[in-house]
Protein backbone atom coordinates (compact mmCIF):
# COMPACT_ATOMS: atom_id res chain seq x y z
CA UNK A 1 0.00 0.00 0.00
CA UNK A 2 1.59 3.29 -1.01
CA UNK A 3 2.15 5.92 1.63
CA UNK A 4 0.72 9.44 1.67
CA UNK A 5 3.72 10.92 -0.13
CA UNK A 6 3.72 8.16 -2.72
CA UNK A 7 6.74 6.21 -1.44
CA UNK A 8 6.81 2.46 -0.98
CA UNK A 9 7.23 1.12 2.54
CA UNK A 10 10.99 0.68 2.20
CA UNK A 11 11.74 3.80 0.21
CA UNK A 12 13.56 6.61 1.97
CA UNK A 13 13.22 10.31 1.28
CA UNK A 14 15.90 12.15 -0.66
CA UNK A 15 18.90 12.87 1.54
CA UNK A 16 20.75 16.17 1.51
CA UNK A 17 24.00 17.32 3.11
CA UNK A 18 25.73 20.70 3.25
CA UNK A 19 29.24 20.32 4.59
CA UNK A 20 31.47 22.97 6.12
CA UNK A 21 28.61 25.46 6.53
CA UNK A 22 29.94 26.86 9.82
CA UNK A 23 33.35 28.49 9.52
CA UNK A 24 34.24 28.59 13.21
CA UNK A 25 33.65 24.90 13.88
CA UNK A 26 36.21 22.26 13.08
CA UNK A 27 33.54 20.28 11.29
CA UNK A 28 29.93 21.05 10.52
CA UNK A 29 27.25 19.42 8.45
CA UNK A 30 23.60 20.11 7.81
CA UNK A 31 22.00 16.77 7.04
CA UNK A 32 18.42 16.10 6.01
CA UNK A 33 15.95 13.34 5.21
CA UNK A 34 13.54 15.22 2.94
CA UNK A 35 12.23 18.16 5.01
CA UNK A 36 13.78 17.02 8.26
CA UNK A 37 17.01 18.96 8.68
CA UNK A 38 19.59 18.88 11.48
CA UNK A 39 22.77 20.88 11.83
CA UNK A 40 25.67 19.39 13.71
CA UNK A 41 29.00 21.01 14.62
CA UNK A 42 32.09 19.28 15.97
CA UNK A 43 34.90 20.99 17.82
CA UNK A 44 37.93 19.11 18.89
CA UNK A 45 40.09 17.72 20.14
CA UNK A 46 40.30 20.70 22.53
CA UNK A 47 41.58 21.02 26.05
CA UNK A 48 39.33 19.34 28.58
CA UNK A 49 38.42 20.67 32.01
CA UNK A 50 40.21 18.91 34.83
CA UNK A 51 37.19 17.13 36.19
CA UNK A 52 36.04 15.70 32.88
CA UNK A 53 39.37 14.67 31.37
CA UNK A 54 40.22 11.00 31.05
CA UNK A 55 43.84 9.94 31.16
CA UNK A 56 43.78 7.45 28.29
CA UNK A 57 41.12 8.71 25.92
CA UNK A 58 39.17 11.68 24.65
CA UNK A 59 35.98 12.74 26.41
CA UNK A 60 32.98 13.27 24.16
CA UNK A 61 30.50 15.96 25.17
CA UNK A 62 27.22 16.05 23.30
CA UNK A 63 24.72 18.91 23.32
CA UNK A 64 21.36 18.85 21.58
CA UNK A 65 18.99 21.74 21.07
CA UNK A 66 15.41 21.07 20.01
CA UNK A 67 13.55 23.20 17.47
CA UNK A 68 11.55 25.20 19.96
CA UNK A 69 11.86 25.82 23.64
CA UNK A 70 14.67 25.06 26.05
CA UNK A 71 16.22 21.62 26.08
CA UNK A 72 14.58 19.40 28.67
CA UNK A 73 14.79 15.79 29.70
CA UNK A 74 13.92 14.58 26.19
CA UNK A 75 16.91 16.44 24.78
CA UNK A 76 19.13 14.72 27.35
CA UNK A 77 18.14 11.34 25.96
CA UNK A 78 18.97 12.44 22.42
CA UNK A 79 22.32 13.74 23.70
CA UNK A 80 23.00 10.27 25.08
CA UNK A 81 22.22 8.86 21.62
CA UNK A 82 24.58 11.35 19.94
CA UNK A 83 27.26 10.45 22.45
CA UNK A 84 26.81 6.74 21.70
CA UNK A 85 27.29 7.31 17.98
CA UNK A 86 30.28 9.59 18.51
CA UNK A 87 31.96 7.06 20.82
CA UNK A 88 31.30 4.30 18.30
CA UNK A 89 33.10 6.16 15.55
CA UNK A 90 35.86 8.10 17.26
CA UNK A 91 39.27 6.59 17.97
CA UNK A 92 39.26 8.11 21.43
CA UNK A 93 42.52 6.50 22.43
CA UNK A 94 44.41 8.70 19.97
CA UNK A 95 43.56 11.90 21.86
CA UNK A 96 43.99 11.36 25.60
CA UNK A 97 43.00 14.12 28.04
CA UNK A 98 41.12 16.09 25.41
CA UNK A 99 37.53 16.97 24.75
CA UNK A 100 35.51 16.57 21.57
CA UNK A 101 32.39 18.74 21.59
CA UNK A 102 29.48 17.71 19.43
CA UNK A 103 26.62 20.18 19.18
CA UNK A 104 23.44 19.32 17.31
CA UNK A 105 20.56 21.62 16.51
CA UNK A 106 17.33 20.46 14.98
CA UNK A 107 16.39 22.89 12.19
CA UNK A 108 13.10 21.36 11.07
CA UNK A 109 11.31 18.22 12.07
CA UNK A 110 9.19 16.29 9.56
CA UNK A 111 9.78 12.85 11.05
CA UNK A 112 12.95 10.76 11.69
CA UNK A 113 14.68 13.70 13.36
CA UNK A 114 16.74 11.53 15.72
CA UNK A 115 18.09 9.50 12.79
CA UNK A 116 18.91 12.72 10.93
CA UNK A 117 20.72 14.03 14.03
CA UNK A 118 22.85 10.90 14.30
CA UNK A 119 23.73 11.04 10.61
CA UNK A 120 24.64 14.71 10.91
CA UNK A 121 26.93 13.80 13.82
CA UNK A 122 28.70 11.11 11.82
CA UNK A 123 29.21 13.39 8.83
CA UNK A 124 30.37 16.27 11.01
CA UNK A 125 33.02 14.03 12.58
CA UNK A 126 34.21 13.19 9.06
CA UNK A 127 34.11 16.85 8.07
CA UNK A 128 36.25 17.74 11.08
CA UNK A 129 38.91 15.39 9.77
CA UNK A 130 39.07 13.32 12.96
CA UNK A 131 40.43 9.79 12.49
CA UNK A 132 37.45 7.46 12.75
CA UNK A 133 37.12 3.76 13.37
CA UNK A 134 33.85 3.53 11.47
CA UNK A 135 31.14 5.84 10.22
CA UNK A 136 27.69 4.98 11.56
CA UNK A 137 24.51 5.59 9.56
CA UNK A 138 21.14 5.80 11.26
CA UNK A 139 17.74 4.98 9.82
CA UNK A 140 14.37 5.23 11.52
CA UNK A 141 11.28 3.15 10.93
CA UNK A 142 7.79 2.98 12.36
CA UNK A 143 5.23 0.21 12.52
CA UNK A 144 1.76 1.39 11.56
CA UNK A 145 -1.34 0.19 13.40
CA UNK A 146 -1.95 -2.23 10.50
CA UNK A 147 1.43 -3.83 11.09
CA UNK A 148 3.32 -2.39 8.12
CA UNK A 149 6.93 -1.39 8.61
CA UNK A 150 7.49 2.09 7.16
CA UNK A 151 11.11 3.09 6.68
CA UNK A 152 11.99 6.77 7.18
CA UNK A 153 8.57 7.80 8.53
CA UNK A 154 7.14 11.29 8.24
CA UNK A 155 5.94 13.13 11.34
CA UNK A 156 2.35 12.09 10.68
CA UNK A 157 3.30 8.44 10.27
CA UNK A 158 5.28 8.59 13.53
CA UNK A 159 2.28 10.05 15.38
CA UNK A 160 -0.07 7.25 14.37
CA UNK A 161 2.52 4.52 14.65
CA UNK A 162 2.20 1.65 17.06
CA UNK A 163 5.96 1.64 17.60
CA UNK A 164 8.99 3.70 16.54
CA UNK A 165 12.52 2.43 15.94
CA UNK A 166 15.88 4.02 15.24
CA UNK A 167 18.86 1.83 14.35
CA UNK A 168 22.41 2.90 13.53
CA UNK A 169 24.86 0.58 11.74
CA UNK A 170 28.53 0.95 11.04
CA UNK A 171 29.93 0.67 7.57
CA UNK A 172 32.78 -1.79 8.14
CA UNK A 173 30.97 -4.72 9.75
CA UNK A 174 27.27 -3.80 9.17
CA UNK A 175 26.71 -4.37 12.88
CA UNK A 176 24.31 -2.38 14.99
CA UNK A 177 25.84 0.44 16.94
CA UNK A 178 22.77 2.14 18.38
CA UNK A 179 19.17 1.13 18.90
CA UNK A 180 16.15 2.85 20.42
CA UNK A 181 12.79 1.16 19.95
CA UNK A 182 9.69 2.13 21.85
CA UNK A 183 6.00 1.31 21.55
CA UNK A 184 4.40 -2.11 21.33
CA UNK A 185 6.00 -4.68 19.08
CA UNK A 186 7.03 -8.33 18.92
CA UNK A 187 10.51 -9.80 18.66
CA UNK A 188 9.86 -10.78 15.02
CA UNK A 189 8.89 -7.20 14.19
CA UNK A 190 12.08 -6.00 15.89
CA UNK A 191 14.14 -8.34 13.69
CA UNK A 192 12.27 -7.16 10.58
CA UNK A 193 12.91 -3.50 11.44
CA UNK A 194 16.56 -4.30 12.11
CA UNK A 195 17.00 -5.84 8.67
CA UNK A 196 15.10 -3.11 6.84
CA UNK A 197 17.03 -0.40 8.61
CA UNK A 198 20.29 -2.13 7.80
CA UNK A 199 19.39 -2.06 4.12
CA UNK A 200 18.49 1.62 4.51
CA UNK A 201 21.79 2.30 6.28
CA UNK A 202 23.66 0.89 3.28
CA UNK A 203 21.96 3.58 1.15
CA UNK A 204 22.95 6.26 3.67
CA UNK A 205 26.55 5.05 3.55
CA UNK A 206 26.47 5.28 -0.23
CA UNK A 207 25.16 8.83 0.13
CA UNK A 208 28.01 9.73 2.52
CA UNK A 209 30.50 8.54 -0.07
CA UNK A 210 28.89 10.56 -2.85
CA UNK A 211 28.64 13.70 -0.71
CA UNK A 212 32.24 13.42 0.43
CA UNK A 213 33.53 12.79 -3.09
CA UNK A 214 31.63 15.83 -4.32
CA UNK A 215 33.09 18.02 -1.58
CA UNK A 216 36.64 16.80 -2.22
CA UNK A 217 36.18 17.37 -5.97
CA UNK A 218 35.03 20.94 -5.27
CA UNK A 219 38.09 21.52 -3.14
CA UNK A 220 40.26 20.20 -5.93
CA UNK A 221 41.74 17.38 -3.86
CA UNK A 222 40.22 14.59 -5.90
CA UNK A 223 39.83 14.80 -9.63
Amino acid sequence: MPRKDGRTTTQMRAMSATQGALERADGSVRFGFGDTQTMCAVNGPVEARLREEQLDRATVEAVYRPIIGLPGVRAKEIEAAVQTVAEASLLAGLHPRTLVQVTAQCMSDAGSSVAATLNATAMALMDAGLPLRAVPAAVACAISPEGEVLVDPTAEEEQCARSQHVFAFDNTSQEMVFCASTGKFTAEELAACHDLCRAGAAKVHAFYRVALERKLAEEGIVA
Partner: protein, 264 residues
Amino acid sequence: MDRRRVQGPETSVVPFPLLDDAAPGVVAPPLQAGKRAGGRRPEDMRPIFLRTGLISQASGSAYIEMGRTKVACAVYGPRQIKKQQGFSEQGRLYCEFKFATFACKKRRNHQRDSQEKEFSQVIVQALTPSIRLEKLPKSVVDIYVTVVENDGTASCLAAAITAASTALADAGVEMIDLVAAASLAYQQRRPEGDAPTGENTREAGAADLVLAQMPSLGDVTHLLHRGPVDWAQMSRAVEQCIDVCAKIHAVMVHSLREHSAAEQ
Protein backbone atom coordinates in the same frame (compact mmCIF):
# COMPACT_ATOMS: atom_id res chain seq x y z
CA MET B 1 10.28 25.49 35.35
CA ASP B 2 12.88 22.90 36.19
CA ARG B 3 14.34 21.83 32.84
CA ARG B 4 16.20 18.91 34.28
CA ARG B 5 13.18 17.04 35.53
CA VAL B 6 10.11 15.59 33.88
CA GLN B 7 7.52 18.35 34.11
CA GLY B 8 4.02 18.11 35.44
CA PRO B 9 1.45 20.92 35.46
CA GLU B 10 2.65 24.31 36.74
CA THR B 11 0.60 24.14 39.92
CA SER B 12 -1.29 21.38 41.59
CA VAL B 13 -3.23 21.27 44.82
CA VAL B 14 -4.31 18.68 47.32
CA PRO B 15 -8.09 18.22 47.24
CA PHE B 16 -10.10 19.32 50.31
CA PRO B 17 -10.67 18.20 53.04
CA LEU B 18 -7.44 16.20 53.21
CA LEU B 19 -5.29 19.07 54.51
CA ASP B 20 -7.17 19.47 57.78
CA ASP B 21 -4.59 17.57 59.83
CA ALA B 22 -2.14 20.43 59.44
CA ALA B 23 -4.70 23.11 60.24
CA PRO B 24 -4.12 24.98 63.46
CA GLY B 25 -6.20 24.17 66.48
CA VAL B 26 -5.80 20.39 66.44
CA VAL B 27 -5.67 19.36 70.03
CA ALA B 28 -3.87 16.25 71.16
CA PRO B 29 -6.08 13.63 72.78
CA PRO B 30 -5.94 13.70 76.57
CA LEU B 31 -4.09 11.02 78.51
CA GLN B 32 -6.24 8.00 79.17
CA ALA B 33 -5.27 6.00 82.23
CA GLY B 34 -1.86 7.64 82.12
CA LYS B 35 -1.10 6.49 78.55
CA ARG B 36 -0.83 8.38 75.23
CA ALA B 37 -2.60 7.58 71.97
CA GLY B 38 -0.18 4.82 71.01
CA GLY B 39 -0.22 3.16 74.45
CA ARG B 40 3.06 4.77 75.54
CA ARG B 41 3.73 6.50 78.81
CA PRO B 42 4.62 10.21 78.54
CA GLU B 43 8.35 9.60 78.96
CA ASP B 44 8.62 6.59 76.62
CA MET B 45 10.14 6.76 73.18
CA ARG B 46 9.13 4.66 70.19
CA PRO B 47 11.09 1.49 69.48
CA ILE B 48 14.24 2.20 67.47
CA PHE B 49 15.62 0.12 64.62
CA LEU B 50 19.16 1.15 63.69
CA ARG B 51 21.34 -0.61 61.11
CA THR B 52 24.68 0.44 59.72
CA GLY B 53 26.38 -0.42 56.44
CA LEU B 54 23.26 -0.63 54.25
CA ILE B 55 24.68 1.81 51.68
CA SER B 56 27.63 -0.08 50.25
CA GLN B 57 28.91 2.81 48.13
CA ALA B 58 29.44 5.15 51.07
CA SER B 59 32.34 5.23 53.53
CA GLY B 60 29.79 4.77 56.30
CA SER B 61 26.02 4.69 56.51
CA ALA B 62 23.16 4.26 58.93
CA TYR B 63 19.45 3.67 58.54
CA ILE B 64 17.17 4.45 61.47
CA GLU B 65 13.47 3.84 62.05
CA MET B 66 11.72 5.36 65.06
CA GLY B 67 8.14 4.19 64.86
CA ARG B 68 7.17 5.24 61.32
CA THR B 69 9.91 7.86 60.90
CA LYS B 70 12.51 6.46 58.49
CA VAL B 71 15.82 8.23 57.89
CA ALA B 72 18.80 7.12 55.80
CA CYS B 73 22.21 8.70 56.22
CA ALA B 74 25.41 8.25 54.21
CA VAL B 75 28.87 9.60 55.01
CA TYR B 76 31.52 10.13 52.36
CA GLY B 77 34.96 11.06 53.42
CA PRO B 78 37.25 12.26 54.66
CA ARG B 79 37.95 13.55 51.20
CA GLN B 80 39.96 16.35 49.72
CA ILE B 81 38.54 19.80 50.00
CA LYS B 82 38.10 21.89 46.83
CA LYS B 83 40.98 24.21 45.99
CA GLN B 84 38.75 27.29 45.98
CA GLN B 85 37.90 26.85 49.62
CA GLY B 86 41.50 27.41 50.61
CA PHE B 87 43.73 25.79 53.15
CA SER B 88 42.29 24.78 56.49
CA GLU B 89 44.12 23.14 59.36
CA GLN B 90 40.90 21.71 60.67
CA GLY B 91 38.69 19.36 58.78
CA ARG B 92 35.17 20.46 57.86
CA LEU B 93 31.79 18.84 58.11
CA TYR B 94 29.28 19.40 55.35
CA CYS B 95 25.75 18.16 55.66
CA GLU B 96 22.85 18.00 53.25
CA PHE B 97 19.51 17.19 54.81
CA LYS B 98 16.53 16.52 52.58
CA PHE B 99 13.02 15.27 53.01
CA ALA B 100 11.99 13.00 50.16
CA THR B 101 9.09 14.56 48.26
CA PHE B 102 6.72 11.86 49.50
CA ALA B 103 8.00 11.86 53.08
CA CYS B 104 5.54 14.36 54.56
CA LYS B 105 1.78 14.62 54.37
CA LYS B 106 2.04 17.53 51.95
CA ARG B 107 4.29 16.88 48.99
CA ARG B 108 7.63 18.67 49.20
CA ASN B 109 9.61 20.28 46.40
CA HIS B 110 12.67 18.72 44.89
CA GLN B 111 14.74 21.75 45.79
CA ARG B 112 15.78 22.16 49.40
CA ASP B 113 13.78 24.81 51.21
CA SER B 114 14.80 26.93 54.18
CA GLN B 115 13.69 24.40 56.79
CA GLU B 116 15.88 21.71 55.27
CA LYS B 117 18.82 24.09 55.07
CA GLU B 118 18.31 25.01 58.71
CA PHE B 119 18.25 21.36 59.71
CA SER B 120 21.47 20.78 57.75
CA GLN B 121 23.12 23.50 59.83
CA VAL B 122 21.74 22.02 63.05
CA ILE B 123 23.22 18.61 62.24
CA VAL B 124 26.64 20.11 61.54
CA GLN B 125 26.54 22.08 64.77
CA ALA B 126 25.43 19.08 66.76
CA LEU B 127 28.17 16.81 65.42
CA THR B 128 31.16 19.16 65.14
CA PRO B 129 32.16 19.08 68.84
CA SER B 130 32.37 15.30 68.77
CA ILE B 131 34.64 14.88 65.73
CA ARG B 132 38.40 15.19 65.96
CA LEU B 133 38.61 17.63 63.10
CA GLU B 134 42.16 18.65 63.93
CA LYS B 135 43.19 15.22 62.65
CA LEU B 136 41.75 15.93 59.19
CA PRO B 137 43.50 18.98 57.72
CA LYS B 138 42.46 20.00 54.18
CA SER B 139 39.65 17.46 54.30
CA VAL B 140 35.91 17.54 54.31
CA VAL B 141 33.52 14.91 55.56
CA ASP B 142 30.22 14.92 53.64
CA ILE B 143 27.06 13.79 55.38
CA TYR B 144 23.92 13.23 53.30
CA VAL B 145 20.64 12.61 55.08
CA THR B 146 17.40 11.68 53.36
CA VAL B 147 14.17 11.35 55.29
CA VAL B 148 12.10 8.66 53.63
CA GLU B 149 9.08 9.03 55.91
CA ASN B 150 8.37 11.84 58.37
CA ASP B 151 6.26 11.07 61.42
CA GLY B 152 7.00 14.09 63.59
CA THR B 153 9.43 16.80 62.43
CA ALA B 154 11.23 17.21 65.76
CA SER B 155 11.77 13.50 66.11
CA CYS B 156 12.91 13.41 62.48
CA LEU B 157 15.67 15.84 63.31
CA ALA B 158 16.66 13.86 66.38
CA ALA B 159 16.71 10.65 64.33
CA ALA B 160 18.83 12.37 61.68
CA ILE B 161 21.44 13.49 64.20
CA THR B 162 21.59 10.02 65.73
CA ALA B 163 21.89 8.35 62.33
CA ALA B 164 24.55 10.82 61.18
CA SER B 165 26.67 10.17 64.24
CA THR B 166 26.35 6.40 63.82
CA ALA B 167 27.24 6.69 60.14
CA LEU B 168 30.34 8.72 61.01
CA ALA B 169 31.40 6.01 63.42
CA ASP B 170 30.73 3.40 60.75
CA ALA B 171 32.94 5.36 58.36
CA GLY B 172 35.78 5.23 60.84
CA VAL B 173 36.03 9.00 61.35
CA GLU B 174 37.84 9.61 64.60
CA MET B 175 35.54 11.04 67.25
CA ILE B 176 35.53 11.79 70.95
CA ASP B 177 32.09 10.29 71.51
CA LEU B 178 28.90 9.36 69.72
CA VAL B 179 26.17 11.98 69.66
CA ALA B 180 22.69 10.80 70.59
CA ALA B 181 19.68 13.04 70.09
CA ALA B 182 16.21 12.98 71.55
CA SER B 183 13.10 15.07 71.05
CA LEU B 184 10.29 16.07 73.30
CA ALA B 185 7.08 18.01 72.86
CA TYR B 186 4.97 19.87 75.37
CA GLN B 187 1.26 19.50 75.30
CA GLN B 188 -1.07 21.16 77.74
CA ARG B 189 1.81 21.83 80.03
CA ARG B 190 2.96 18.20 80.21
CA PRO B 191 6.07 16.96 78.45
CA GLU B 192 5.80 14.02 76.05
CA GLY B 193 8.90 12.40 74.67
CA ASP B 194 9.30 11.61 70.97
CA ALA B 195 6.04 12.93 69.57
CA PRO B 196 4.74 11.59 66.24
CA THR B 197 2.78 13.81 63.87
CA GLY B 198 -0.69 13.07 65.25
CA GLU B 199 0.29 14.42 68.59
CA ASN B 200 1.71 17.67 67.29
CA THR B 201 -0.24 20.71 68.17
CA ARG B 202 -0.06 24.37 67.33
CA GLU B 203 -2.17 25.64 70.17
CA ALA B 204 -0.84 28.35 72.43
CA GLY B 205 1.61 26.93 74.92
CA ALA B 206 2.88 24.23 72.57
CA ALA B 207 6.64 23.81 72.42
CA ASP B 208 9.16 21.26 71.37
CA LEU B 209 12.72 20.50 72.24
CA VAL B 210 15.47 18.64 70.40
CA LEU B 211 18.57 17.88 72.38
CA ALA B 212 21.83 16.34 71.15
CA GLN B 213 24.25 15.04 73.71
CA MET B 214 27.52 13.14 73.98
CA PRO B 215 26.39 10.64 76.64
CA SER B 216 29.75 9.37 77.84
CA LEU B 217 31.05 12.87 78.49
CA GLY B 218 27.70 14.26 79.57
CA ASP B 219 28.12 17.29 77.27
CA VAL B 220 25.15 18.69 75.40
CA THR B 221 26.26 19.66 71.88
CA HIS B 222 23.05 21.19 70.60
CA LEU B 223 19.74 22.27 72.00
CA LEU B 224 16.87 23.48 69.85
CA HIS B 225 13.75 24.72 71.52
CA ARG B 226 10.64 26.25 69.99
CA GLY B 227 7.76 27.82 71.83
CA PRO B 228 7.17 29.53 75.18
CA VAL B 229 7.94 27.66 78.39
CA ASP B 230 9.10 28.43 81.90
CA TRP B 231 12.51 27.53 83.26
CA ALA B 232 11.41 24.82 85.72
CA GLN B 233 9.61 22.92 83.01
CA MET B 234 12.48 23.34 80.59
CA SER B 235 15.07 21.98 83.00
CA ARG B 236 12.84 18.96 83.69
CA ALA B 237 12.47 18.43 79.94
CA VAL B 238 16.23 18.66 79.43
CA GLU B 239 16.83 16.05 82.11
CA GLN B 240 14.25 13.78 80.55
CA CYS B 241 15.92 14.11 77.17
CA ILE B 242 19.30 13.34 78.67
CA ASP B 243 17.92 10.10 80.13
CA VAL B 244 16.55 9.13 76.76
CA CYS B 245 19.88 9.96 75.12
CA ALA B 246 21.60 7.41 77.32
CA LYS B 247 19.20 4.72 76.12
CA ILE B 248 19.69 5.77 72.49
CA HIS B 249 23.45 5.62 72.98
CA ALA B 250 23.14 2.00 74.06
CA VAL B 251 21.22 1.22 70.87
CA MET B 252 23.89 2.95 68.73
CA VAL B 253 26.73 1.06 70.36
CA HIS B 254 24.87 -2.22 70.01
CA SER B 255 24.24 -1.75 66.29
CA LEU B 256 27.86 -0.72 65.62
CA ARG B 257 29.15 -3.74 67.49
CA GLU B 258 26.78 -6.04 65.64
CA HIS B 259 27.90 -4.68 62.30
CA SER B 260 31.62 -5.01 63.04
CA ALA B 261 31.09 -8.53 64.40
CA ALA B 262 29.20 -9.45 61.22
CA GLU B 263 32.06 -8.12 59.11
CA GLN B 264 34.53 -10.42 60.81
